[in-house]
């Protein structure tokens, strides 16, 4: 029998606020344990939460980017369960009236764009972190407690592990574009749990689902889902039951392992948090928030393809990060050729930045200067080869390309008279290859051009050299 895979993802995005969601402690990550805490985020008796306005604004912006319905009325609920990292023994979350209702995200797939439904995107507070010591004791670090999270729940619209990967990539890209989160999986500011079930192809009913946790990278999500797809198909084919359970992905084994069954699942006893008042905002705010959104990655990708004539691949790489796309466009506007600019950005620039551990914002070469360098090539002032040297120097010093060329005397030699002399010397010095070429061995010309370039320290105009050699040897 053929089976259809049904996948839904729950993503937690850490919102980029200065302070925590319900108190004024700084919201960042790391630091000595329990140094960014106060009576409120420690849940001490008598303390009360006060909602961070900025967190609501960021969450609404994210909702707008995900095309979510905004009702203008939202409330917070308590999710009750005991765990040492949860100091109040309940998490303030949103259950009955989330800030952002149903929406969607378009993702690129091999078969074109696909629209993935978003069930909801709601605000909640993060829990702390347990630290286990060698002597068997555990400690709790509450620094992370109360950091604002946006939980984005997708509809079960994903059909392949690869689609889940694409969805996460697109979601991260969008969240970073609209500057609501750093979405750094390593730092925990972007976390994902996956739900997967299989059903007979053509069936409308959903199969028994399994939740997978401990997914530390997009690749891990894809791998875990692939493993689970095979495991569940095996069970179904052997007519064995699939149990509703939570499984952990073990990256070393590349397998999912059972953690707890549905019977052990919590009854969270959600109810409205009486310490907080509803969030109410007028409907016109919705339009305002949408109006302030930047161009989103998929739209920009399409435009890059059409406006700059770039291949899909280039457009995808260049628009994955807003700052990179901004960089490209700034250089393009400054007059660099679109395709060669794309090659230089994706090749030389990203390569160097990567090596140096810098982001595009930290690039020592501003977009305008890279455009300047490319113009020097196009105008024939320097060769592509020299340009790489100039680029390397620009990366070190940040200097104007034209000044480097001038100071170093790197101007391309396009003077016929000067080059004819050098061509003459090279031919005289290498009679063998010259004879080979005359004898019809076309490849020999390459060696001779190389010799001229060498003699001119790369500054000769290679096109002209080629021409002169051929003329002299014909």
């Amino acid at each position: 029998m053929n089976y259809e895979t049904v996948i839904g993802l729950e993503v937690h995005v850490q919102l980029k606020t200065e302070t925590k969601i319900f108190c004024s402690c700084p919201a960042g990550s790391g630091g000595e344990p329990n140094t960014r805490v106060c009576p409120v985020c420690l849940g001490l008796p008598g303390t009360l939460p006060v909602l961070n306005r900025r967190a609501v604004e960021l969450a609404l912006r994210a909702g707008a980017a995900l095309n979510c319905g905004l009702s203008g009325f939202s409330k917070f609920d308590r999710k009750n369960y005991f765990y040492p990292d949860l100091p109040k023994a309940y998490q303030i979350s949103q259950y009955h009236r989330p800030l952002n209702g149903a929406g969607w995200l378009e993702i690129p797939t091999a078969a074109g764009k696909k629209r993935i439904g978003v069930t909801r995107a709601h605000l909640e507070e993060d829990a702390g972190k347990l630290v286990h010591f060698e002597d068997g004791w555990s400690g709790v670090d509450y620094n992370r407690t109360g950091v604002p999270l946006l939980e984005i729940v997708s509809d079960p619209d994903l059909r392949r592990p690869r689609e889940a990967y694409e969805y996460l990539k697109e979601l991260r890209s969008v969240m970073r574009y609209i500057e609501v989160s750093d979405c750094d999986m390593e730092k925990g500011s972007f976390r994902c749990d996956a739900n997967i079930s299989l059903r007979p192809a053509g069936s409308r009913e959903l199969g028994v689902k399994v939740e997978i946790k401990n997914l530390n990278s997009f690749k891990a999500v894809e791998r875990a889902l692939e493993y689970e797809e095979i495991r569940q198909r095996g069970l179904l084919e052997r007519r064995e039951p699939v149990f509703q359970e939570t499984r952990l992905f073990n990256a070393d084994l590349q397998q999912t392992i059972s953690m707890r069954s549905k019977e052990e699942a919590h009854d969270y006893r959600y109810f409205p948090d009486p310490d907080l008042v509803p969030v109410v905002f007028p409907p016109e705010r919705t339009g305002e928030i949408r109006g302030q959104l930047p161009e989103l990655p998929l739209a920009r990708l399409t435009r890059f393809r059409e406006e700059y004539g770039l291949p899909d691949y280039d457009a995808g790489v260049l628009t994955a990060e807003r700052s990179l796309a901004d960089y490209y466009e700034e250089a393009a506007v400054a007059g660099a050729g679109y395709k060669s600019l794309s090659n230089w950005v994706m090749g030389e620039l990203l390569g160097k930045l990567n090596e140096a551990g810098l982001t595009i914002e930290e690039s020592p070469i501003p977009a305008g200067r890279l455009a300047g360098l490319l113009k020097l090539i196009e105008e024939g002032t320097i060769s592509g080869k020299i340009a790489k040297r100039v680029f390397a120097e620009m990366f070190e010093s940040g200097e104007e390309p034209a000044r480097i060329v001038e100071r170093r005397g790197l101007l391309q030699i396009s003077d016929r008279g000067e080059l004819e002399g050098i061509v003459e010397t090279v031919i005289t010095g290498h009679p063998g290859p010259a004879a080979d070429f005359r004898g019809g061995k076309e490849a020999a010309i390459g060696f001779l051009v190389g010799q001229v370039m060498k003699a001119t320290k790369g500054q000769a105009n290679p096109k002209l050299v080629n021409q002169l050699l051929r003329a002299r040897l014909s």
Partner: protein
């Protein structure tokens, strides 16, 4: 004069200290002496901070001498219910589970009292986590009613009410979730007010039921209630449920006439098994109001009989969540028993909480559990709305509502503890007011045959505490019941106070 400083009103004390006719330290000493003398009989306090009180008073005297502007509560000794957080103090909510929890911060009301020049005497006894109507549910001790030491002071703020009645402190703060200020005020013959929900910040009040809890003052007369209420009211950025409504000068409502004022009496309040003495005193108090020129009209609060059921669903649901944090992990009591985390949780909560608290946590957990939420919690919220509607309708016809505070006067210690349901039902008249979020005061409206005080409630629309103060102070002026004081026969050996 020294021996009587503890019997001055807060208004008198603040005036005398501000004018430096007496020192704050003298007043504090007088209260501490009285406490030392009567505590063995009454047991109002869980902890008395004599050293702290003297230091606060002395510091205040120094600052006044240096020309500092006196605050409105300058030198006024205050007793605080043991669920208000005071920086550096152990705060236990009358529970063993919080033993050893020292608050690192001040509740907003505590901060406001400090700013107003008050002097803190210590923390008063209460039913554990404010759950109870007799203060017998305290995890530490019982408190006796100063009018009759064999009787309860009411609860849950029984310690605060008894301390004021026994002249250990001129004023005290309590909290009221279902009557926990008004009922003990009634039983102890003092004035006690539950302000409108949102009038006083709850920041630093250890929560029982967050949507019902409200901090309020106890005093020996309405004037002092007004003074204290003014000092603690107002919007607090640390409490989202506190209202951004300006605080009026409540004392301006004192000594005003009530002639022509329409006061509503719900017909339901006579049908609910009032004790004979309570009914008689209540009816007589209505005559006093009439004598002051007020018009008494009958009103209808048809849904009020549902209050108790509604209250015990909402309050326990919230409590089950609010009290979940007492799990032995961060602070307070942790059971040494248990081999793992879950066993530690279970043993800590089993041994740390008292019976009544556990009963309410179980009830609240049940009504919120999956599959029961709609049948209980959601319906209780609807019922609450209807009860509020009843009051809204009533206030279209009258300015304030009058009701007995409790169907009985103070009962004997131990007489009700085995029958929780009967204890719950006795809170009918106070509970409805919390569900509707309204302000209400309890003042002494008369006495029963055995001389025990009978409390009457004056209830007003939200944020109209001024009407309550005006009505209640006019009644006081007309009736004079506040001048009658309990007599405690203090054994001479136990009275080492200054001579």
């Amino acid at each position: 004069m020294n021996a009587k400083l503890n019997e001055l009103t807060a208004r008198e004390t603040a005036g005398l200290v501000a004018r430096r006719e007496i020192s704050a330290l003298e007043v504090a000493e007088a209260c501490l002496s009285r406490i030392a003398a009567v505590e063995p009989l009454v047991g109002s306090f869980l902890r008395v901070d004599g050293e702290g009180a003297r230091a606060m008073a002395a510091d205040l005297d120094r600052r006044l001498a240096a020309g500092e502007e006196p605050g409105p509560l300058c030198g006024v000794p205050v007793a605080l219910k043991d669920l208000l957080c005071v920086k550096g103090w152990e705060v236990t909510c009358g529970s063993k589970i919080l033993k050893g929890f020292f608050s690192p911060y001040d509740a907003t009301v505590v901060r406001k009292l400090r700013a107003a020049g008050a002097v803190f005497l210590g923390q008063t006894n209460m039913d554990e986590f404010a759950m109870g109507s007799s203060t017998e549910n305290s995890g530490y001790q019982i408190t006796r009613n100063p009018w009759d030491l064999d009787r309860v002071p009411g609860g849950s703020s029984g310690g605060s009410a008894a301390a004021v009645a026994a002249a250990e402190a001129p004023v005290a703060l309590g909290s009221d979730t279902g009557g926990s200020i008004r009922q003990p005020a009634a039983f102890c013959g003092v004035a006690g007010m539950k302000p409108t929900y949102g009038r006083v910040s709850r920041y630093g009040l250890v929560a029982y039921a967050s949507s019902l809890d409200q901090i309020g003052p106890f005093a020996r007369d309405v004037g002092d209630v007004a003074l204290l209420l003014e000092a603690i009211s107002g919007h607090d950025p640390l409490d989202s449920t506190s209202a951004p409504i300006p605080v009026p000068a409540y004392r301006d409502s004192l000594g005003r006439e009530i002639a022509g004022m329409k006061l509503g009496v719900p017909r339901q309040c006579f049908a609910a098994g009032l004790e004979e003495g309570v009914e008689r005193a209540f009816r007589e108090s209505l005559e006093i109001f009439r004598g002051l020129g007020a018009e008494i009209i009958e009103i209808d609060l048809p849904r009020i009989p549902h209050s108790v059921a509604c209250y015990y669903i909402i309050s326990t649901a919230e409590a089950s969540s609010n009290l979940a944090r007492f799990d032995g992990v961060q602070y307070g009591y942790r059971s040494p028993a248990g081999e793992n985390l879950v066993e530690m949780y279970e043993a800590t909560r089993r041994d740390g909480f008292g019976e009544e608290v556990k009963r309410r946590i179980l009830l609240g957990t049940y009504v919120l559990s999956s599959g029961y939420y709609d049948a209980y919690y959601a319906r209780a919220l609807q019922a609450r709305r209807l009860i509020k509607d009843d009051f809204d309708k009533a206030f279209e016809r009258c300015e304030c509502v009058l009701m007995p505070t409790s169907p009985t006067t103070a009962f004997e210690i131990g007489s009700r503890i085995a029958d929780p349901l009967r204890m719950y039902l006795s809170d009918l008249f106070t509970i409805a007011v919390n569900l509707a979020g309204l302000p209400a005061i309890s003042i002494t409206g008369g006495f029963d045959a055995s001389g025990l005080p009978v409390g009457i409630q004056v209830i007003a629309p939200p944020f109209e505490e001024e009407k309550i103060i005006r009505t209640a102070s006019a009644f006081e002026a007309g009736a004079g019941f506040q001048d009658r004081k309990p007599v405690l026969s203090v054994p001479p050996a136990a009275a080492p106070g200054p001579s």
